[in-house]
Amino acid sequence: MSAVAQPGQPGATVGARSGPPDAQPGQSAPVAVPRGRRRTELIMLAFAVGVVLAAYAAAGLGLNGKVPSGLAGYGLAFAALVLAAHLMVRRLAPWADPLMLPLAALLNGLGIVMIWRLQQSGHGGNPGVPISTMTSSTTTFQIAWSAAGIAAFVAVLVVIRQPRTLQRYTYTFGAIGLVLLVLPALPGIGSEVNGARVWISIGGFSIQPGEFAKLALAVFFAGYLVSKREVLALAGRRVLGIDLPRARDLGPVLMAWAASLLVLFFETDIGTSALFFGLFLVMLYVATQRTSWLLIGGGLFLAGAVVAGKWIPHVHERFQIWLNPFLGNRPYGSAYQLVQGLYGMGFGGVLGTGLGHGQPYVTPLVQSDFIITAFGEELGLTGLMALLLIYGLIVQRGLRAAVAVRDPFSKLMACGLAFVLALQVFVIVGGVTRLIPLTGITTPFLSQGGSSLVASWMMMALLMRVSDTARRPAPQPIQDEGMTQVVRTG
């Protein structure tokens, strides 16, 4: 039985109220105060800008013994860009995680420096040969795209004030995601580059719609699974100690599988299809907490991959290159890129050749898919590990926000976004290091390419919005209720 006690009446309080933490004298335990931590973010951002400028100076010194003349100009531009992002975060998401922005800014900056360094090779008396796939304005474009990415980051923060509002547009985002996925396969606007149809060109601009489809589908899966997860979690037959889902609930996972296989067949792009199917599986697993979904999905994916490896020539060739890159004439032919990347990383060793001292320009397309090997060569295993740890930290902060936020939709969305970032880094880094078959997808923030940069920044904005919602302290009551509390009397 419960009753309501009036002020001053003694009684064991049941309804715990969260008030402001009272500082007791002599208390020495760590005090967890909810703080926005924007100052920490600013300090870390300054540090990130410092690291990027150091990389720029080191690359210039390595190339021709001179500190690059544009150091101050480019440095100021980059610092202004990230400072603008920081000030907008102060306004728009004051409680967001303090680490996401600095980590993303560092990766973006290091990517720009590496692209500049690659563009410089062979020009103006620098060692090496010019890279034929880069023009003299590649770096400028990358900086412009970074600015566009940060603008998109701010725009997402402005438009989406509550991550929950996205839930209303679940099926809209699903449709957008599907259209974006299908666009490159259409004959009119889709174009095939290096064996994969992942591009569309509109008025001279090339866009990789798959990068944005990732975000839209993460929102769609989150909204869909939040409403359907109770059904999907129902247990069917029990086989070998695992609760299998009911056969009639297999529909969605088969649909996602079929969609990713279609992408594989019509766009011959293993990376994108693996990314989407993996995203769906993990979100399904997180939503339903059933291991059987992972097993079923993993089995389906392996079956699809084996079939594709046998029947699709492009995929078959990729598998062969992966398994035996050094066989016969391959190191000079089809496996040239992969083998040169491996040699580059081997050449770098543990500590690397130093920025500007390696020969990353030998690897074809080193500025986009293989930028990781350029870092591996010039910064060595030590530098590559640091980069991977930075990705790991971004993913960890994303998952942390997912754990902390209350609303199940935001939870699933943040979890999916953080996971898809991790999966993308795994697929590309695993590909260039020959852990898994190589698929051409971009390295988030590092690779040359506007779509990838803008999409990655938008993903950061979504994660920061979720984290802002999660860390925002509960509103304090305007009027103190006094001692009115629920007590147990019997």
Binding site: L393, P475, E481
Partner: protein, 162 residues
């Protein structure tokens, strides 16, 4: 430029990169375990609180005027949730179709509703077991809710804000 300088630059850059990673991990650490205040900082914080306390005026019950725009949950398991008010009624309870779904043992399935009428919001108890309280008064008939006055439903406390 000689080889030694170049080696030093190379190693220094790697060291700076790792320092950044370590600093980032440090930020994660303080986030997990809280911020340890030094003795001086603690004293300063106490002094600030002591100074702040007498200055804080007791807030009047109906300080905010004008039509409320949002409903905030200030206590209970949903604390921190905010709902934007529209011209739709808000149902509160443990039922799945309620606008605000409570997971509260002291709340009924359809506990109470809030609806707008003539520019003000009215709270009505829907025959709940444990009752709805508007600022310590049990709600027996539809009652207008002033801005900033707590409504208690089980362990959940909500209020309207401008």
């Amino acid at each position: 430029m000689n080889a030694l300088t170049l080696t030093l630059i190379r190693l220094a850059f790697l060291a700076v990169l790792w320092l950044f990673v370590i600093a980032a991990v440090g930020v994660v650490r303080t986030d997990l375990f809280g911020h340890t205040l030094s003795a001086r900082q603690q004293r300063r914080q106490q002094r600030q609180q002591q100074r702040a306390k007498p200055q804080r005026p007791p807030r009047p019950a109906r300080a905010s005027r004008g039509a409320p725009h949002q409903m905030v949950v200030t206590a209970g398991s949903l604390a921190g949730t905010t709902l934007q008010l529209s011209d739709q009624q808000i149902t509160i309870g443990r039922a799945n179709d309620a606008t605000l779904v409570l997971t509260d043992d002291y709340a009924s399935t359809r506990h109470a509703r809030l609806f707008p009428q003539d520019g003000q919001w009215i709270v009505e108890d829907l025959g709940s077991t444990n009752g709805t309280y508007l600022d310590r008064q049990k709600v027996t008939h539809p009652t207008p809710v002033p801005t900033g006055v707590p409504i208690r439903i089980g362990k959940t406390v909500l209020e309207l804000r401008r």
